[in-house]
């Protein structure tokens, strides 16, 4: 019989041995030696064996003794996942490596836009989910110790006077915590890879496999007497037939597969510690082989244990109690070491993984925000990380101890499935994140929340027993007396196995809520970018986002990196980067590539979100995140709009300038016209003035002038004065007309009357006769206009014809035609008309047809045109005829501008 003290001594020796192995491995790793072993697929495969904990080592036999072959489902699920590595694990490992993911919480938070909320939720859920599992390890170690303390092998062990189970559990927990702190956070290297731990886990994997197989071989060939005898014994035993419920078979296989992917410790060894993605392909068949060997002898040990040991022995301890009862102390010691290995390796890796999550996602963000003064302040931050990890380890193991004390033990397998159910809730968010771009952060949060709440209600709380955490009334009548809220018969569907019930409801509602909420929510830009990177990871392995680090001094980054990576490591990293950039000296250019590499390096220590926050503080928030890019895009869109507005404005301006230029040209022209007009006027005025002055001088100075001469000279002066007066009258008239100051006196009369007046006036005192041809019938039209002005126009035209018609027998035809509300009056004489080149200018002021005798000032036609414009009509020379022809258009009803406006307003009303 082995004494307890001997056992403790062996354990301590074993642990010390492991510690040495880990130390040597870590030293070799930092020196870059022994890579063939440390980074071999064998070590990778063996490190995966932390899946097989004390639950496997002790619990599987107990499980088999109670429920037959059902225990094997716990290993079938992971085997399927490994065999199907191509579907999920390949992608998971690749993403984990490219994104420098540090934990399952980091993965989920990274996928959903580096959301720290999500990371905290996943961390808290993991801690709660894994707590029963750690309690299970404590319990198994305590049980295995107790069996050595028992005076009579195999009996129920709780009432042994020499052995105080709670006290033993406390010391085991303390020992494990110390061991983990020493192992995992021994040195200041807070990088999330632990080659020492991995190699220790691999050694422990060999120890536990060897121990279990040794016990199995002893049982089959030493006790049962060979393979065929063992098989016969199996069939004859209480568990000799297939008794597994179909629902449990499927549900437990699925649950173990899900938990294998989601367990924080599995994620740690499978993804974080992975060195080469090709190792996964080897582990794909090697790890199922390991699982198969581990579960191969479980049923024989259970059956032989049931046969040989006294009734009432704890089947969870058959692996130990069988060799002990046969006096095989050495084998028992080996088995104890195997179980101890299983428990310790699980506790170390699980608490390490959890403490990484707790410190990265809860402690560090809180600490950073409490510090608040910026990441480049103060000294080394690594002691904070180390301290937070150590405290997290203590906290997690303390929680496990607390659970062990409250739940009061129970079958190991039952505790294990509770833990599996908890972590399996990550599966929808995780797989959805890897395969579905539409998965959103809100969806993940709601899904996780739903699944977790259901798990707590249907699995965790009931595990404390009826009347424990939940009252008996809740079990029977449902929560708050609501019948459909019974923890083991949700929605009134009873009769299901509690485990199947909890797994089916929590996972299916989790998935449903996750999908539905994802469908109806909208992801943020950064989330969409991360989603795209995760889902299409095999195709593109681009950076998550880049830094524009122009502001970030390399020195500042160096200061921060030293605090997290450690001074020598940070300097080595910076020097390597500087060399890679082809620069001499210690500091590389803070290019986006470099800053991003640094962020990833930091992310490996403190998690992606924290690393990003820290680099962001240094770089001064100039991270070119997607939000920033969107903001930039918004700004450039605004600038585009602004510039197009400017362009429109400038077009408008140039149009205005062109208009102004045209106006200026017109003004210049007008000015020239005015000058010409003034010189014309001066000329016109000077001619009569000259003759008046000359003749009046003659009259004044000549003393011997006869009467007739005097009369003659005086009459010349008179004539010239009249001419001057008429010229001035015309000018005045024209000016009045042009300025629009003329007031029209409208009257109604027949056209013929107007023409009569005009002809009479024009021909009064004419030197030459002019025959007038008129059609009186056409002229009997009534019209309302300023008749005096119209008559003035007619007089002018008739007088012109009389003056300028060069025909031997001058004649004038006045033809009247009515078109709609206009009257067309043509004045056609039988002269030779006006030359083509003169036609365009006859209406200009002071134009007189050269070579033609005449006395006018050349203002008559100008005045006519102005008058006709005022009367709403027009006057034009009809070209293309051999004779002189003027056409006057005059409206029947004169309409002024004001009248037109009034008419328009009335029409509008």
């Amino acid at each position: 019989m082995v004494s307890l003290n001997q056992l403790v001594a062996v354990c301590l020796l074993y642990v010390a041995g492991l510690f040495v192995v880990a130390f040597l491995a870590e030293r070799a790793a930092t020196r870059g030696q022994a890579g063939w072993l440390l980074r071999s697929p064998l070590v990778y495969t063996l490190s995966l064996s932390i899946y097989c904990t004390a639950w496997t080592f002790y619990g599987a036999v107990g499980y088999a003794a109670r429920s037959g072959l059902e225990y094997v489902t716990i290993y079938l699920g992971p085997s399927l996942v490994m065999i199907g590595w191509w579907w999920v694990l390949r992608r998971l490992v690749h993403i984990g490596r490219t994104q420098r993911v540090t934990s399952v919480a980091d993965l989920i938070s990274s996928r959903y836009g580096k959301s720290n909320t999500l990371a905290i939720v996943v961390t808290v859920m993991s801690v709660i989910g894994v707590t029963p599992y750690i309690a299970l390890q404590l319990q198994s170690v305590v049980l295995s110790l107790s069996i050595f303390a028992a005076p009579d092998v195999g009996l129920i062990t709780t009432d042994i006077p020499a052995f105080n189970a709670p006290q033993a559990a406390f010391w085991v927990a303390t020992g494990l915590a110390l061991f983990t702190v020493l192992f995992g956070t021994r040195n200041l290297n807070v990088n999330d890879r632990h080659p020492g731990v991995v190699i220790a886990v691999a050694v422990e994997a060999v120890v536990k496999l060897f121990a279990l197989i040794a016990v199995g071989v002893f049982v089959v060939w030493g006790l049962a007497g060979g393979l065929s005898e063992t098989m016969a014994r199996l069939d004859a035993s209480d568990i000799g037939t297939w008794q597994v419920q179909g629902g449990r078979w499927v549900a437990l296989t699925m649950l173990s597969a899900a938990a294998f992917l989601c367990l924080p410790r599995m994620f740690q060894v499978m993804v974080v510690e992975n060195d080469d993605e090709r190792h996964l392909q080897i582990a794909a068949w090697a790890f199922p082989l390991y699982l198969m060997l581990m579960s191969l002898f479980v049923v024989p040990i259970a059956v032989v244990g049931l046969d040989l040991l006294p009734a009432g022995s704890d089947p969870d301890l058959f692996v130990l109690s069988l060799p002990l009862s046969q006096g095989q102390n050495g084998l028992a010691m080996l088995a104890f070491l195997g179980g101890f290995s299983s428990a310790t390796s699980m506790v170390i890796v699980a608490t390490l993984a959890l403490s990484t999550m707790v410190s990265n996602h809860i402690v560090m963000p809180v600490w950073l925000s409490v510090q608040g003064e910026g990441a480049s302040q103060s000294g080394d931050v690594r002691h904070v990380i180390i301290l937070s990890r150590r405290l997290s380890i203590l906290l997690i193991i303390a929680l496990g101890f607390l659970y062990y004390r409250t739940s009061g033990g129970g079958a190991l397998a039952a505790i294990g499935t509770i833990s599996f159910g908890g972590v399996a809730q990550f599966l929808p968010a995780m797989l959805g994140g890897l395969f579905w771009r539409g998965a959103t952060r809100t969806g993940a949060l709601f899904g996780l929340g739903t699944g977790f709440a259901l798990w707590v209600f249907t699995m965790l709380l009931p595990s404390f027993g009826q009347g424990g955490a939940l009252s008996v009334a809740t079990f029977e009548q449902g929560l708050f007396g609501l019948g459909w809220l019974r923890p083991q018969a949700l929605f009134g569907i009873g009769g299901l196995d509690p485990t199947v019930h909890a797994v089916v409801w929590s996972l299916s509602l989790n998935t449903a809520v996750f999908v539905v909420v994802s469908l109806f929510t909208f992801p943020s830009p950064i989330e969409r970018l991360q989603g795209a990177q995760f889902v299409t990871v095999q195709d593109t392995a681009g950076p998550a986002r880049s830094w524009a680090a122009s502001v970030a001094g390399s020195e500042d980054l160096m200061i921060m990196a030293q605090r997290i990576l450690g001074a020598p490591e940070a300097q080595a990293f910076f020097q390597a980067e500087a060399r890679a950039q082809g620069r001499l000296g210690d500091f590389p250019e803070p290019t986006p590539t470099f800053v991003q590499a640094l962020e990833r390096e930091l992310a490996a220590s403190v998690g992606a979100a924290t690393a990003h926050a820290m680099v962001g503080q240094i770089v001064g928030g100039t991270s070119v995140s997607v939000q920033d890019l969107l903001a930039v895009a918004d700004e450039s869109a605004q600038m585009l709009e602004y510039s197009s507005q400017l362009e429109a404005k400038s077009n408008e301006l140039s149009a205005t300038a062109a208009e102004l230029r045209r106006a200026n040209e017109k003004l210049t022209q007008l000015s020239a016209q005015k000058d010409a007009f003034l010189s014309q006027i001066s000329h016109e005025l000077r001619t009569p003035m000259t003759s008046i002055r000359s003749f009046s001088e003659i009259l004044r100075d000549a003393t011997d002038m006869t009467g007739p001469d005097k009369t003659c000279y005086a009459s010349i002066i008179h004539t010239e004065t009249i001419r001057l007066t008429r010229l001035l009258d015309d000018l005045l008239d024209l000016s009045v007309l042009e300025n629009g100051q003329v007031s029209l006196h409208k009257r109604t009369s027949a056209l013929s009357d107007v023409l009569d007046l005009a002809v009479t006036t024009a021909l009064a005192g004419a030197a030459r006769p002019l025959r007038i041809h008129r059609n009186r019938a056409d002229e009997s039209v009534q019209l309302t206009t300023d008749l005096d002005r119209l008559a003035q126009v007619f007089i002018n035209l008739v007088a012109n014809a009389q003056k300028y018609c060069d025909a031997p027998d001058p004649a004038l035809v006045i033809a009247v035609t009515q078109r709609d509300d206009m009257l067309e009056i043509d004045f056609v004489d039988n002269g030779r008309g006006i030359d083509a080149e003169a036609q365009s200018v006859i209406f200009e002021k002071f134009y007189r047809i050269s070579g033609v005798a005449g006395v006018g000032a050349g203002l008559g036609l100008s005045i006519c045109r102005e008058i006709m414009t005022r009367l709403g009509g027009s006057i034009a020379y009809v070209s293309g005829r051999d004779e002189g022809a003027f056409r006057v258009l005059v409206p029947l009803q004169h309409v002024t501008d004001e009248m037109r406006q009034e008419a328009a307003i009335e029409g509008a009303i």
Binding site: L76, V81, L234, S237, G240, T241, W285
Partner: protein, 84 residues
């Protein structure tokens, strides 16, 4: 002996089909391991059901078969095979 048509690219074609097999192997394993769902579960007479030894042989036989198949596929498809 007739020549192989050049365009068939037998090697890469075979490799792709082997990768298909890698993808399908877990489904085969799942299907075979779910066969016990169809076994009768004895209610009154324990001797009626499938005996434990047969169940063990079946479950572990598939286990061995699946991982042997996985090993064989790995031998044929591992990346360093390409160079040889």
């Amino acid at each position: 002996m007739a020549r192989d048509p050049v365009f068939l690219e037998r090697k890469s074609y075979r490799r792709r089909r082997l990768l298909d097999a890698v993808r399908l192997l877990p489904l085969l394993g799942l299907a075979l391991w779910m066969v016990p769902l169809m076994w009768a579960v004895p209610t009154t007479q324990p001797s009626e059901g499938v005996p434990m030894s047969a169940a063990l042989y079946y479950v572990f036989g598939i286990w061995g078969g699946v991982l042997l198949a996985g090993w064989a596929l790995w031998r044929r498809t591992r990346p360093d095979q390409d160079q040889s």
